[in-house]
């Protein structure tokens, strides 16, 4: 396996690596959830030896190749378009200039819509990392009564099995 190992300042007991594979195999048998230590990927023989030359060649090729422009007059069109865009922008600013856009001017529905439809890539753990506990409006939940309909809607959407709730009949 052509894996590389990083020296992170740690050291190992003597002959640790010699017996590692066997110990790992044993461990794999014992603990079914243990993840394998490497990814099983390998490289062609001598790949890293010839890599420098390949990169240098490629770099020289890309440097010496003369670029032939497909649209030699394109820059003039772009310049004209840029001037036109600037003109429109100036007119726009003059017309709507006094209305300053702030966070408050966004409708709540727009914000909710944005959050619903945008993959922010944040998990609840990550959100918890950045939002301090004090900022979470817990009072909103504790001090305001929820509309019954909302509770039923929530349970309907989020609970698979109502038996799990252990509801008494008279509740």
């Amino acid at each position: 396996m052509n894996e590389e190992h990083k020296n992170s300042g740690f050291k190992t007991p003597e002959n640790y690596f010699e017996g590692f594979n066997d110990r790992l195999s044993e461990r794999l048998k014992e603990d079914e959830s243990t993840l394998p230590e490497n990814a099983g990927l390998k490289v062609p023989e001598g790949y890293f030896d010839s890599l420098n030359e390949q990169i240098t060649d490629k770099l020289q090729q890309t440097t010496s190749t003369k670029v032939v422009k497909l649209y030699p007059h394109r820059k003039y069109y772009l310049a004209a378009a840029a001037i036109a865009a600037l003109f429109i922008l100036v007119l726009g600013i003059q017309q709507f200039g006094d209305k300053e856009l702030t966070f408050d001017s966004l409708a709540n529905s727009d914000i909710e819509n944005y959050l619903d439809n945008t993959d922010l890539g944040l998990s609840s753990y990550e959100i918890a990392e950045v939002v301090a506990l004090d900022d979470i409006a817990i009072d909103n939940i504790l001090e305001h009564e929820l509309i019954e309909e909302s509770i039923i809607d929530y349970l309907d959407e989020n609970v698979d099995d109502f038996d799990e709730l252990n509801l008494e009949l008279d509740e």
């Binding site: 396996m1 894996e3 590389e4 990083k6 992170s8 794999l28 079914e32 959830s33 993840l35 394998p36 490497n38 990814a39 099983g40 990927l41 390998k42 490289v43 062609p44 790949y47 890293f48 890599l51 420098n52 390949q54 990169i55 240098t56 490629k58 770099l59 890309t62 890539g121 944040l122 998990s123 753990y125 990550e126 918890a128 990392e129 950045v130």
Partner: protein
């Protein structure tokens, strides 16, 4: 090993440039290769992306201000190159991201440069279904053995967020491996 600042300086000067570039490649080629390979999975693709990464580094070294470490900067370029490469390939094939990931893992079974056993293949399948960020964090932490602080500098994400992503990734992978058994 040559100090990073000196290397950067030499890379920026015409006279010492080519020799310094050689040193740069020798120092980082394997680390970057494995990082990229774990994203694109296939050797030929990794080779393409790695070469492009070094070429980008060379062309943009003038603009490197030293605000982050050189290797973090290179890792970032490598990561972006690998992800852009995959996106372009996905677009070209006209498939969804999920389909693309599935294809990539399925191709591993016939890949001569994959010598993983059943559990390693399953691990790749589990990694393939993770969201992009969790996948990156898992690979960098688990296989590249980078520290959270280093990953934080490369991905420009908070250490707390990274820890959460890694924790979730491990849980999902363990769950997947158990389900598959």
């Amino acid at each position: 090993m040559i100090a990073e600042e000196t290397l950067v300086q030499q890379l920026k000067e015409k006279d010492s440039q080519s020799q310094a570039f050689e040193v740069l490649i020798n120092t980082y080629k394997e680390r970057l290769y494995w990082h990229i390979r774990r994203i694109v999975l296939n050797h030929d693709d990794a080779d393409d992306v790695l070469q492009n990464t070094f070429i980008k580094v060379f062309r943009n070294i003038e603009g490197f201000k030293g605000d982050s470490k050189l290797y973090s900067w290179m890792y970032r370029i490598g990561t972006n190159e690998a992800l852009s490469f995959l996106k372009a390939k996905t677009r070209k094939l006209g498939v969804s991201n999920e389909e693309m990931q599935e294809r990539m893992v399925n191709n591993l079974e016939a890949d001569v440069y994959f010598e993983g056993d059943e559990i390693q293949l399953k691990l790749q399948k589990a990694i393939a279904i993770l969201p992009e960020k969790q996948k990156l964090v898992f690979n960098m932490k688990y296989f590249d053995e980078l520290k959270y602080e280093e990953i934080s500098e490369i991905l420009e994400t908070s250490v707390g967020g990274l820890k959460a992503s890694y924790h979730l990734a491990v849980k999902k992978i363990e769950h997947f491996l158990k389900e598959e058994q």
